[in-house]
């Protein structure tokens, strides 16, 4: 396809917007991995579950998704916290396949419970600003996606500041770096695990809320986003949330340009190719250096 400046800018913006969503989901996943060394295969299903919460708050009470965000964030934080306490705690430090079975099982349970409770029908949240478009000359972007991008950036910044500046944030990072040392420093590691899991899961709440303003919801939403999320966290360096943030933006942009310039079918192929190359050439990820102890 031919590429002129307005189209280039349009694609770039959409790519960044798309990437911001990937970043949010991946930051949560990589935060959990970084602290607890467990891969949460149910992450996408928490994303889907958050989406349903947003939908029902909108459908039953008419509350705009963005206004419902704090409530959904809190709800998912609590669910994440409790999940860690009840289920994840039991498999920490166990062999990887046990952890995988636990989170994969959790994924199946969430997905099928949603189908039983709310059927497999697709859902869509209608907002008053859904159809707004911002036009700057030849460049036009849908307002909900721009808004999502801005809010995603704000959230990422807040999360970064939280991890960097607060006591809990420092404790989370410390536990991720060395669990035993953190323990010796008087950090309640178990509590930090629950907190990290809750925080990681609530990242999906933010992503789902922003997605819901323009993306249809179904019980299978999580699986669509999970492949790219795993690529993002590997590219960013496992456990490195800043790396995941940047990798998300990069992969989102690459995907959008690939689909326009080459073929839509290569949407997932090119990121997967990058994934393999990264694993071969720089297994610690593009931004993994910082993690080296």
């Amino acid at each position: 396809m031919q590429l002129d400046l307005p189209i280039f800018l349009n694609l770039l913006l959409i790519g960044l917007f798309q990437g911001a969503i990937y970043s949010l989901i991946s930051m949560g996943l990589t935060l959990i991995f970084g602290t607890m060394k467990i891969v949460n295969f149910a992450h996408g299903d928490f994303l889907m579950l958050s989406g349903y919460f947003v939908f029902w708050i909108w459908a039953l009470f008419g509350v705009d998704p963005l206004l419902a965000l704090p409530a959904v964030f809190l709800a998912l934080f609590c669910i994440g916290y409790a999940t860690e306490r009840v289920l994840i705690k039991r498999v920490l430090g166990r062999p990887t396949h046990i952890q995988m079975l636990m989170t994969l099982g959790l994924s199946l349970i969430i997905q099928n419970s949603v189908i039983v409770l709310w059927k497999a029908d697709p859902r869509f949240v209608h907002t008053s600003y859904a159809d707004l478009r911002l036009e700057l000359g030849a460049v036009a972007v849908p307002f909900p996606r721009l808004l999502s991008f801005v809010l995603a950036m704000l959230f990422a910044l807040t999360l970064h500041l939280f991890l960097l500046k607060t006591t809990y944030g420092t404790a989370i990072r410390g536990t991720g770096q060395d669990q035993e040392a953190a323990h010796l420093m008087g950090i309640n590691v178990n509590k930090i695990y629950s907190l990290s899991f809750g925080l990681g899961i609530s990242c999906t709440a933010v992503a789902a809320t922003l997605l819901s303003t323009y993306f249809p919801l179904s019980p299978f939403l999580g699986s669509s986003f999970m492949v790219i999320t795993f690529i993002v966290i590997v590219l960013g360096g496992l456990g490195n949330y800043l790396g995941a943030f940047i990798a998300g933006l990069i992969l989102g942009t690459i995907e959008i340009f690939t689909a326009y310039m080459l073929s839509s079918l290569l949407r997932q192929t090119i990121p997967l190719l990058i994934f393999i190359l990264v694993l071969l050439l720089k297994p610690e990820g593009l931004f993994g250096r910082k993690l080296r102890r």
Binding site: Q18, D131, P142, A259
Partner: protein, 437 residues
């Protein structure tokens, strides 16, 4: 290369004997099992015993992503069994009662195959109806070929199903080749009707067996100058359940086709296409769709943005006003299931009408007699709900009258627009752009 085996790694003689023994025992056991499960060739018995009950196996997805469709199919089959029995059963069989045995395929090929075998060997069904998904129907129909039990296909449309040389397979529904043709016939009619020429077209298809199958048929038809001959300005193939479609929609906008032909199965994909086309501000003169675009949940999700979309359909509530049988069966179904029929429940009715007719004419449950009766089927259009001339099978088992019609979403409801004789609203072509709405 080092391939030398040390003494320790090599197997001992005793181990070798055990392995050989196990293989021999397994082979013998397998052979015995095969002998017992291989069906005897169907034989015609001269003095057939009185038939008390006719068992019809129904293959439907009762769980999994398509459970919504399977529920309706099950309800319809049981409803019709009751209706037939209340009307005196199969008269030529001395009023034998009809019993439906519904088996869940979960929408999975392997499960469908196992269930088909179970229906034949354990439930001893006389006929099988199913199995919605083409991917499930194929292995299930292979089982019925193997055992020599007639299989009436309800709504699987893959072209290959009638190209297998199956002897026991009969499809009441159309094939993707027939349906693909319907789009081109409709486009021709649209131009004649409005005088507005279609010059360019584009295809958007999901990367699935169904999506690519349909799009390939379109490509073939477009090469034929009689049928198509339009300039194909874009052919977009995209993965199923994509996380974004903006690039694809921008490609489509840049190509600016007069008509877009699209094939997407999951409803979320259909919703995303609609919303993304709006976000990039592009809508063709005619947007001709199928599958994911033609269900009530799609309409409730996209709201007014779905207006003017054209869909290929086999069922529309409009039919109840045109055909007494459509109204009768829909009322009956609604009373029982508390909702209107959908296309697959309608097809369950069509197949059961075919089955009942064949049973009456065969006056036997002998597989070969039933197969011959099915092959000689000639049911007039007023006995079935779809607006077809009837049901009559060619030598591949394909119903030669099967067809689909086109509906357009207008004021929140799908109305028939083509063929003109069943149209309930005039066609809106060209469709207004997003800004004109």
């Amino acid at each position: 290369m080092r391939t030398i085996c040390t003494r320790k790694e090599a197997i001992t003689r005793i181990q070798a004997i055990i392995i050989v023994a196990v293989v021999v025992v397994a082979a013998v056991a397998g052979g015995i099992a095969w002998t017992f499960t291989t069906p005897p060739t169907p034989t015609t018995t001269s003095a057939a015993p009185k038939v008390e009950e006719v068992r019809i196996g129904i293959l439907a997805p009762l769980t999994g992503a398509a459970a919504y469709f399977g529920d309706g199919m099950k309800a319809m089959s049981e409803l019709l069994a009751k209706k037939i029995n209340d009307e005196g059963g199969i008269k030529s069989l001395g009023g034998a009662k009809v019993r439906m045995i519904v088996a869940d395929t979960e929408g999975k090929p392997d499960v469908g195959k196992t269930q088909a075998r179970r229906l034949i060997t354990e439930n001893k069904v006389h006929l099988i109806i199913g199995a919605l998904h083409s991917g499930v129907t194929l292995p299930a129909a292979q089982e019925s070929e193997r055992y020599g039990i007639p299989f009436i296909c309800d709504a699987s449309s893959h072209v290959d199903l009638t190209r297998q040389g199956f002897r026991w397979f009969f499809r009441t529904w159309g094939s993707d080749a027939i349906f693909a043709r319907n789009y081109f016939e409709c486009m021709k009619w649209m131009q004649n009707k409005t005088g507005i020429k279609i010059k360019t077209i584009a295809f958007i298809s999901e990367e699935s067996l169904f999506g690519v199958g349909v799009a390939t048929e379109w490509e073939k038809l477009n090469v034929d100058p009689e049928m198509g001959g339009y300039k194909l300005v874009a052919y977009i193939r995209h993965p199923v359940s994509p996380t974004d479609l903006t690039s694809e929609a921008m490609t489509l906008k840049a190509a600016n086709p007069d008509v877009v032909l699209s094939v997407q199965t999951p409803m979320p994909d259909a919703i995303l296409w609609t919303k993304t086309l709006k976000a990039v501000d592009f809508f063709p003169k005619a947007f001709m769709t199928t599958a994911g675009f033609i269900f009530p949940e799609y309409v409730s999700s996209v709201g007014k943005d779905g207006e003017y979309i054209i869909g290929r359909e086999g069922w529309s509530i409009d039919l109840t006003a045109r055909k007494p049988i459509a109204k009768e069966i829909n009322d009956l179904f609604k009373k029982e299931a508390n909702r209107d029929m959908h296309v697959y429940t309608m097809q369950m009715h069509t197949t059961i009408v075919v089955a009942r007719d064949a049973l009456e004419r065969a006056a036997s449950v002998d597989p070969e007699k039933l197969r011959q009766a099915l092959a000689n089927t000639d049911i007039p259009g007023d006995k079935i709900i779809p607006p077809w001339k009837g049901v009559k099978f060619d030598n591949t088992g394909q119903n030669i009258y099967a067809n689909n019609f086109m509906v357009q979403l207008y004021k929140g409801v799908y109305h028939a627009i083509w063929p003109e004789e069943i149209a309930t609203i005039p066609l809106v072509y060209p469709a207004p752009t997003w800004k004109e709405r």
